[in-house]
């Protein structure tokens, strides 16, 4: 197991390096730069600014300096757009917000989704099943950019119950709508996967054996059926975690949360190279780590898997 983890981490390093290098060049090849503006800067002023941010250096040198600063100083550089902040600041300020929304949505999606799925499978072909399946499909059919406007219109404008956006120190009223918007479609998928997986497990031989030896249904479900049921669900949860984090880009913008999403999209549009690259690396690294954790979780759920 330990050897496996080390091996995976070693593979992660070149993966992230490739991500950085590819993003770096893509970003620099996009037309326009951070200081392209409507009223072009006088050449002397532009030269001064470029020198200050090292943009006058050849690309390979810029990349080298960038990597050097990250590896040896953990410094992701200054923001080109916001003078009083550097990338570390921006991430430190925005990421906890995005992570809060992401983690809550992940939790909501998995807990509600799995419960719905299990309920539907146990009460197969009853009204509970139909309601759960109906809810799941409806939720899945509503992506966050449809849910957002529906929620705001309903709860902010018509009912006047919830604030239409903002963070305000993370008060619960401000969390509800973004979390619903972000989690519903995954909730639907999780419910569906759990239901079909559970149905399959309930029809398998070892469950029949358990029932035959007279175990009460509750123990059959909890002790024997749950773990194998969750195996395909877990493989889906890993990517979902990454999706809710990156998907929070929309929620951040739509609900003006102050999270990283706004900074990320804004940096792409304003060619704030350092911020764009910094956030890309953050999300890339998270993806790699979450994938590793998902693979490790398999081993726990399925004793047949050995690393």
């Amino acid at each position: 197991m330990i050897a496996y983890i080390i091996r995976r981490l070693l593979v992660a390093i070149p993966t992230i390096l490739v991500l950085i290098i590819a993003s770096f060049f893509l970003m620099h090849f996009a037309p326009g730069g951070p200081f392209t503006s409507e009223r072009p800067l006088p050449p002397q002023v532009l030269a001064n600014i470029e020198a200050r941010y090292g943009l006058d250096q050849p690309l390979w040198k810029q990349l080298y300096d960038y990597l050097f600063n990250i590896i040896f100083h953990f410094d992701f550089g200054p923001s080109f757009k916001f003078k009083d902040r550097d990338v570390n600041d921006i991430i430190a300020q925005g990421f906890p917000i995005s992570l809060t929304y992401g983690a809550l949505s992940f939790l909501a999606a998995s807990v509600v989704g799995i419960s719905l799925g299990i309920a539907a499978a146990i009460r197969h072909n009853t009204w509970i099943d139909y309601v759960a399946v109906g809810l799941g499909i409806a939720a899945q059919a509503l992506p966050n950019f449809i849910m957002g406007p529906i929620l705001i219109l309903t709860f902010t404008l018509w009912l006047g119950l919830l604030p239409g956006g903002g963070w305000n120190g993370g008060q619960w009223q401000y969390l509800i709508m973004p979390v619903i918007a972000l989690s519903t479609s995954y909730m639907g998928s999780i419910a569906r996967i759990t239901r079909s997986s559970m149905l399959e497990v309930l029809n398998s031989n070892f469950i029949r054996t358990a029932r035959a030896k007279g175990l009460p249904t509750r123990s059959v479900i909890w002790r024997h059926a749950l773990k194998p049921t969750l195996l395909p669900v877990v493989s889906y949860l890993g990517p979902v975690f990454v999706y809710v984090l990156t998907g929070s880009v929309f929620v951040d913008i739509y609900f003006s949360t102050g999270g990283l999403g706004q900074a990320y999209v804004g940096s792409a549009l304003s060619r704030d190279y350092a911020v764009l690259l910094g956030v890309t690396i953050l999300y890339g690294t998270l993806t790699v780590v979450v994938n590793l954790l998902t693979d490790l979780a398999y081993a726990w759920f399925d004793p047949k898997i050995r690393y």
């Binding site: 392209t36 409507e38 406007p149 604030p163 903002g166 739509y254």
Partner: protein
């Protein structure tokens, strides 16, 4: 706004309310209106502002915040007229190239230090210093301050800038050329004073709420980037007694429809109206939907450089295309926000600018259309030899609608084929700046209220002249306007040349189209530059 939503807002804004201000629960000293207990003004901004450093800020929403946090030599009143700021007044010599400002001795920084002439000297030198490389350094050059250009270019030492503190309360400015509207330009953020000690102590981080020291009516108390920025009453401000609004909250809301919903839910006192929605909102909320002229233009520019299409080198083609644009359809059907149609480059709202008689504005659209057909046929384009070109604009719903409408008008009336190109902002700037287009969208908001802020863009060597229009007569006229005491004739001739040569197609002039809560008092709708100061606003009790 009902009481319940008001309570709700109070909840959102939470934290602390500054109470005990002289006007809370009182009446307005001049209008006699009852004032609300909660003097908090909350408004929407589209995007996170670039900075609140006066010499660095480059966007409109940043400048709005800076105007509250800092105070320059002169301010504007609700009509845009010049009124004293830190300076009580100024004198100028006969040749109008030396200005002397007298500073009030009651002006203070928020840490209690007096605001003195050398604070301005420091700030202005900072603005042109290559070390800071301010994106607005050009503005100081535009103010014609002695040596500004050479300092920006790194040819002269910063200390050579033509600005001097005669004593603590007297500031002398020497200009390289006489400039009649110089004092107007001191209402611009770039010219606001900067606290030297604080900047030296904190470097780039001096603008963070915990470090910043400012001399305006407000101080920055909270800033969560991309979410909100809060400024509160500066008790050290010299005119604090007459300031009514205690707290100003700017909320970043990218999506204008979300902003409108949040406005309607009572979370905001002001927001922009999305294109096309004004008539409906005006019907439903007549007291809140407002529209007033602004100092901005919207146009398309022909590529007249060597890389541009051959057809556009013929002025008849350019005129024909301009004539065939039915501006009424664009302003009334697409935008529908009370925007005036444009036949000149400078907006009518510009101070001291009389809209000259241009032939086109006096014609009916039918007359324009038939003249357009004639001109285009004369130039050799018609069904056998159709004119085709591409036109580019930057990503935005309303730019797209307008571009589609233009293409449609030209196709129906003149049989012209257009190829529309929707480009993301930076790509658009790069493409237009490299003259890699046939026809491109353009727009400009005045940096100061004088026609040259627009017309100078069409000077042959202007950095903004992306269409590369070259006309020696226009250049001469614009140069002479800089020193003329009466510019009416000069600007009239420039606009007439523009109408004749049609290097650009003026489409419309902007209007400020807002939803503004009816309890906001004294919003300066007549200030076409929309230089508003929170200290002049007040909230009326309901």
């Amino acid at each position: 706004m009902n009481k319940q939503t008001r309570l709700l807002i109070a909840g959102f804004l939470s934290s602390t309310f500054i109470t005990g201000a002289a006007f809370a629960a009182g009446v307005h000293p001049t209008t006699g209106e009852a004032l609300a207990d909660d003097q908090t003004f909350t408004y929407r901004i589209l995007d996170e502002h670039s900075s609140v450093d006066p010499q660095v800020v480059e966007d409109v929403s940043g400048a709005e915040i800076v105007r509250d946090l800092f105070e320059g030599l002169m301010n504007q009143d609700r009509d845009g007229n010049l009124v004293p700021g830190v300076a009580t007044g100024f004198t100028t010599n006969d040749t109008k190239d030396v200005y002397t400002f007298t500073l009030r001795d009651t002006a203070k920084w928020s840490n209690g230090d007096p605001v003195i002439a050398s604070d301005f000297v420091f700030a202005w030198k900072r603005a042109v210093d290559p070390e800071l490389s301010s994106p607005y350094a050009w503005f100081v050059q535009l103010m014609s301050i002695e040596n500004a250009g050479a300092i920006i270019a790194g040819e002269t030492a910063v200390d050579e800038l033509g600005v001097k503190a005669i004593d603590d309360h007297t500031l002398e400015v020497r200009l390289s050329a006489p400039l009649p509207y110089f004092a107007q330009m001191t209402t611009h953020a770039t010219t606001f004073p900067a606290p030297q000690k604080v900047i030296e102590a904190h470097g780039d981080a001096w603008t963070k709420p915990e470090n910043i020291v400012s001399n305006g009516a407000y101080v920055l108390t909270e800033h969560l980037p991309q979410e909100r920025s809060v400024r509160e009453r500066n008790t050290m401000y010299w005119d604090n007694e007459n300031t009514i609004v205690d707290k100003v909250v700017a909320l970043v809301i990218n999506d204008e429809n979300v902003a409108l919903t949040r406005y309607l839910a009572g979370e905001l006192d002001r927001t922009e109206v999305p294109a096309g929605q004004f008539p409906r909102l005006q019907k439903e909320h007549p007291a809140e939907a407002i529209s007033f002229p602004r100092l901005c233009n919207y146009y398309y520019t022909f590529n007249l450089s060597e890389d541009g299409p051959e057809a556009f080198k013929d002025p008849r083609v350019r005129q024909a295309l301009s004539l065939a644009v039915d501006r009424k359809i664009i302003t009334e059907k697409i935008l529908a926000g009370g925007q005036p149609e444009a036949y000149t480059f400078a907006p009518e709202a510009t101070a001291g600018f009389t809209v000259p008689e241009v032939e086109m504005s006096a014609m009916t659209q039918a007359e324009r259309d038939s003249l357009a057909k004639e001109l285009l046929a004369e130039a050799g384009y018609g069904p056998d030899n159709p004119l085709t070109f591409n036109m580019i604009y930057n990503t935005s719903e309303s730019h797209k609608k307008i571009a589609v409408a233009l293409g449609q008008m030209w196709k129906q009336k003149l049989g012209v084929q257009t190829d529309l190109g929707n480009l993301e902002w930076k790509v658009f700037l790069e493409t237009r700046g490299n003259q890699d287009f046939d026809l491109a969208r353009g727009a400009w908001c005045g940096d100061y209220n004088e026609a040259s802020t627009f017309l100078d863009l069409l000077q042959s060597d202007s950095g903004y002249n992306d269409g590369k229009f070259q006309n020696t007569r226009v250049d001469e006229l614009l140069a002479s306007a800089k020193i003329a005491s009466d510019t009416t004739k000069i600007y009239t001739e420039v606009e007439q040349i523009l109408a004749q040569e049609s290097p650009i197609i003026p489409i419309y002039h902007y209007a400020g189209v807002y939803m503004m809560d009816s309890d906001v008092g004294n919003w300066p709708v007549d200030n076409v530059e929309q230089n508003w100061y929170s200290k002049n606003l007040y909230k009326i009790a309901e």
